[in-house]
Symmetry: C2
Subunit: 363 residues, 2 copies
């Protein structure tokens, strides 16, 4: 650095100090002391899917000087795993953390915020949420339930699932005994699959005994933990039904409104950090696990083009039906799809093709 630069630096620094001194400091509002017992819907032992809120709780405690303490409760330890939303809505607990979509029966459009078939990938989803109106629609949707949800974790796509035989044509979908839930399950029914909803803990045995031909559950790190590779040899991707998966810190509306702006800002900021933490963690860990399946006798394959297209066509039918049945579903899905269409040319041209990179680096 030249002497001239040094001089200008110190002059400028003096000016800056004067500028800052002239600004009366905002009266500091201290972060409130909170101790919330926060139940989660997925076990914290499920890598990338279940371990985000424990990280957020630690980070929030650190960033608040120990004032905000979220005590994480594993599924079913405090309330039933699927009762998070209702418990927060009724005020029985201040806050809970869940995959949005479990409350689809009560709030149909919530499914769109949890995972939308042929919807937005993680970076597109956060783009829509934080920058293109998604977050505002989220609050509009949940305001009548007296719940304030804060996006607090988005992860990589799921896989299409574990199959006992490879899917090579669309004909094989007819009557295929498959486990799926939510909107994805409705779409699979629409293409003629025989869809059942079974809890995660029963899937391994159902596959082993032939009750199921195939099942989806989550992304490679979680699927590996559940051991599906031991009872099914074909792993199809991508999970068109769940191109991103998002979880939220549900906070009771009255509780949220009683928080001062500083406390709200700590929660919102840490949950935003939690979103990129979860995105990063999920993306970082899938490669090694997916690569390991080959040695376990599993073949990882893309679903054939015509199969993906069949699911895409059925998605249009189901989404039209859901939109016709519920104005908020229509409003939110329309916003999301308008964003996706606007982003489409950039999505296709702005990046290297995904397999281009792979072909070159695998050499």
């Amino acid at each position: 650095m030249s002497i001239t630069t040094k001089l200008s630096v110190s002059t400028a620094a003096t000016c800056a100090a004067l500028t800052l001194a002239a600004t009366a400091p905002a009266s500091a509002e201290e972060v409130q002391k909170l101790k919330w017992a926060v139940p989660i819907s997925f076990s914290s032992s499920l890598t990338a899917l279940g371990d985000t809120l424990p990280w957020v709780a630690d980070q929030m405690k650190a960033a608040s000087g120990g004032n905000i303490q979220l005590e994480v409760f594993e599924p079913n330890k405090m309330i039933p795993a699927l009762a998070v939303f209702e418990s927060v809505a009724t005020g029985q607990i201040e806050a809970g953390y869940s995959w949005m979509g479990y409350e689809r029966g009560q709030v149909p459009a919530s499914a769109l915020f949890g995972a939308t078939p042929f919807g937005l990938e993680p970076a597109q989803f956060t783009a829509w949420m934080y920058q293109a109106g998604g977050n505002e629609l989220l609050h509009e949707l949940f305001e009548p339930y007296n719940v304030h949800p804060v996006l607090c974790g988005t992860i990589s796509p799921e896989a299409a699932g574990w199959f006992k035989f490879p899917i090579e044509s669309v004909d094989q979908l007819d009557g295929l005994k498959f486990r799926a839930a939510g909107l994805g399950g409705e779409i699979m029914k629409e293409v003629g699959m025989s869809v059942t909803v079974l809890p995660g803990g029963e899937l391994y045995q159902a596959l082993e005994t032939g009750v199921l031909d195939a099942t989806e559950f989550s992304l490679p790190t979680v699927d590996e933990q559940l051991g599906f590779y031991q009872v099914a040899s074909y792993y199809h991707l991508p999970g068109w039904h769940q191109p991103s998966t998002s979880q939220y810190l549900y906070i009771n509306g009255d509780v949220w409104n009683d928080l001062n702006p500083t406390t709200q800002a700590v929660i919102e900021t840490t949950c935003m950090a939690g979103t990129v933490y979860a995105m990063s963690r999920a993306e970082a860990l899938q490669g090694a696990v997916l690569n390991s399946f080959g040695d376990k006798g599993v073949e990882a394959k893309r679903l054939p083009e015509d199969v993906l297209q069949a699911f895409r066509d059925a998605t249009a039918v189901v989404m039209e039906r859901e939109s016709a049945a519920d104005p908020m579903f229509d409003k939110i899905y329309s916003s999301m799809m308008a964003f996706k269409a606007e982003n489409a040319q950039w999505h296709a041209l702005g990046y290297l093709p995904r397999d281009w990179t792979w072909n070159n680096d695998a050499q």
Copy 2:
């Protein structure tokens, strides 16, 4: 919710309250009062590229109850735009915000943290940084300079650039008069291009007068602001030389070490939030701008396969040379490429092809 559930909720809540009461609260350490004058390297008027730190400063003020105040200084208002790193290292200012790579002359490997040709896309980059050792390498790299950098903003790929004629074969690269900087520029020289470094403000005229055949600058939102579409009709993508662009809050090492853990946590958390803010904002805004170029007579096109491959081959040569010259460059580039290779199969199979979605939704 059933009565049984309600009972179990209130019992559990009581237990939770007892558990929490039994835990002695950590002695709260309050966030320190800081007023830093923070220069930035890009004008805050450059959408998605320059407006992240102003957002981070607002958010950090809110989350600290007004205790942490970063006063943002536009480029050259306080120190020269490219003097951020040196001013922080010497302690003339507490902190600054810059694109990492401007200090490549002093810290060659810094380029890898700013943007790596054929390197990691935004979500892969944050995955490597936060979960696969990148952040630790960053601190190892800058520790000798007494600087603590905090990742605080990653954005979508750049474009390959604005051309006065379309690039249709690799032969056209020979002698092509192009503006580029950093590692990307070295790679372009390696394939025979005539590369000059010109400041952003001179590019429009250089293109208009034929001093340049083509130039890259940033991503569509920023390129649009600089008006290149008025003097060049071919916009090639993707920006293989810069698949993500990352900026950092540089904090003087002594200043950082004097902060208490709460203050450090607020800064780190808010910068993580800033990373997803920038990712989201950049991704959200490129579509509309790219789509608008057609009406302005601009053709947006992918670079031909053989051209991309020529750049890829030259990248290998340049990276080998840089790695041989500097052990930290070698160490960091090796870590990044090992992560990319591990992630490759997931990257290729875990998502729908990018143009698949586009083809379907554009109908």
